[in-house]
């Protein structure tokens, strides 16, 4: 339905950015509303929840802990296990709870992203488990998941070189757009999910499908970076809130002791 609108607007580069209105009413460089909350599950060593538009993802971290079975142990660093998983009701058509090939691939690229940040060398022979459960999916779940997972790791007190934060850009009706929604992913011409370590300025997750010229790629990449930096602020906010809560609790504990 957005096609008609989009095609009409294909004009000069400057103009289009101003005028192109996306299927959900967003401007090309506009994120969907988002919110991150840390420390939302009582049992996990660390946890976080992200809402990004209709996406709702819950991440939990267990560990570091002894690794089983023994013969898989890594002598010089911890093993990081990652699972990206969609609940059956997260999609319009019911999803079987059994991991699909897509979920296995995404678990693997997310693991690589987080491995760059976590100081695994501090925990030889241990393992750290990171679980991301998609309660509702609405496009760009993998970058939202890695963003929540990084907050959960920090919440668990796991030493990290930097946070990891993800965002996507894409191309729809000839326009480069930020934070690709579900319809845009299906109907659009390209999808570019990235995740970065924002302070170390490193890309740790990078995928693309569709078609982009090198120029379009640059535009999309820069837009995704911008979006990631915006979400990074939200990560920091969520963690600061928790830290304050903890201080209050700790002070309470001190008061009690004295």
């Amino acid at each position: 339905m957005s096609n008609k609108k989009g095609k009409k607007k294909k004009e000069s580069n400057e103009e289009k950015e101003e005028e192109f209105i996306r299927i959900d009413g967003r401007k090309p460089d506009e994120m969907r509303p988002y919110k991150i909350r840390a420390h939302i599950l009582r049992n996990a060593d660390g946890s976080a929840e992200i809402r990004l538009g209709g996406n709702w993802i819950i991440a939990a971290v267990y560990g570091p802990k002894e690794h089983f079975p023994k013969f898989e142990i890594s002598q010089d660093k911890a093993i990081l296990n990652c699972r990206y998983h969609m609940t059956p009701y997260s999609t319009t058509e019911r999803k079987s709870p059994k991991p699909s090939r897509r979920e296995i691939e995404l678990s693997k690229v997310i693991k690589n992203a987080l491995e760059q940040a976590v100081v695994l060398e501090e925990f030889p022979e241990m393992s750290i488990d990171v679980y991301m459960e998609v309660a509702q999916a609405e496009g760009s779940t993998r970058v939202a998941s890695v963003t929540a997972a990084a907050v959960a790791l920090a919440d668990a007190g796991i030493p990290m070189r930097d946070l990891v934060v993800g965002c996507s850009a894409g191309k729809v009706n000839g326009h480069i757009i930020l934070d690709v929604g579900e319809e845009e992913d299906k109907e659009g011409e390209a999808d570019l999910p990235i995740a970065i370590m924002p302070n170390l300025r490193k890309v740790v997750l990078l995928q693309m499908d569709g078609k982009l010229t090198h120029e379009e790629f640059k535009e999309a990449f820069d837009l995704a970076l911008k979006g990631a930096m915006e979400l990074y602020e939200e990560q920091v906010r969520a963690l600061t809130t928790i830290l304050k809560d903890m201080e209050i609790i700790e002070e309470g504990v001190k008061d009690e002791k004295e």
Binding site: I58, A60, P64, E133
Partner: protein, 283 residues
């Protein structure tokens, strides 16, 4: 973080378990509740916009999310005039240090089947209203529940979640589907107008644990770890029993009737609490 903290959860649980026993012997519970008190209950419905019905339930620190979805299906040969009801649940690996990813464990299968029986045997959903063409085409209702945090008493929380999702949920209008079967895109019911799910009653499951020969309701994860027996009883609105599962341990003959009486009282209390929280008329 210190290294001797790595197994902290497990240790914490063990320490807690000792306390629980000590407390119960003193006729107290660790969290201050009476033996027959439920924890705080919170219900949010409609939390999954993509589902036809959904709910998020917090029972103390136990968190469950339920989603209800519909597909077209073929009825079972022995019940051509009934829709299909499928209830499946998983304890997500986020839920506790002991929950694991992978195919469902025997405990998860048991939980799923007890929740399924509670809903099915109570005849809460009028499955005859899910028929498109008898013997040929019916609506298949998937009820999926996931435990995101397990602080005990998963089954009670899951049944609360399922009934809340069903009471507030919708389904594709079978009348409409029947009339437009040819035109509908294959296996895509999103364009079909919706009607409320035809529910007739709602069951309540109550789990009772035996610790130091005393019965407590709504056990926490730690209380479950030290319980000598655990049983779940589901009652209909007419105070009939519609499902029982002795989940763990054994009970004396007389104790069986004791737990039945406790669970009946509790089922009435919790049913009213749900009605209140969902804004339904009381009885």
């Amino acid at each position: 973080m210190k290294k001797n903290n790595f197994k902290k959860k497990t240790l914490k649980e063990i320490l807690m378990a000792n306390n629980i026993l000590k407390f119960i012997k003193e006729n107290r519970r660790l969290d201050g509740r009476g033996f027959l008190d439920y924890r705080d209950l919170r219900i949010d419905t409609g939390v999954i916009k993509k589902a036809y019905g959904s709910a998020r339930v917090e029972l103390g620190d136990t968190i469950v999310i339920v989603g209800v979805q519909f597909e077209l299906g073929t009825p079972f040969p022995d019940s051509p005039d009934k829709g299909i009801l499928l209830t499946e649940g998983e304890v997500l690996p986020t839920a506790s240090f002991s929950a694991e990813a992978g195919p469902p464990s025997e405990e998860e299968i048991e939980i799923s089947r007890v929740v399924d029986r509670s809903i099915r045997e109570s005849e809460m959903v009028d499955l005859s209203r899910l028929v498109i063409k008898p013997g040929e085409s019916v609506l298949k209702m998937f009820i999926d529940f996931n435990i995101f945090n397990d602080d005990g008493n998963i089954i009670d929380a899951a049944v609360i979640g399922v009934v809340s999702a069903l009471l507030t949920g919708e389904m594709p209008d079978p009348e409409y589907v029947r009339e437009h079967l040819e035109e509908l895109p294959p296996n895509n019911l999103t364009s079909v107008p919706r009607i409320p799910i035809p529910t007739q009653d709602f069951p309540i499951a109550n789990t009772i644990a035996l610790i130091d020969n005393k019965f407590i309701v709504d056990p926490t994860f730690a209380e479950e770890m030290v319980s000598e027996a655990r049983i779940t009883i589901t009652h209909t609105v007419n105070n009939e029993i519609c499902a029982i599962q002795l989940i763990q341990g054994g009970l004396g003959y007389e104790q069986v009737f004791e737990v039945l009486n406790i669970s009946l009282d509790k089922s009435i209390e919790i049913r009213n609490r749900i009605r209140e929280l969902l804004g339904l008329g009381g009885d």
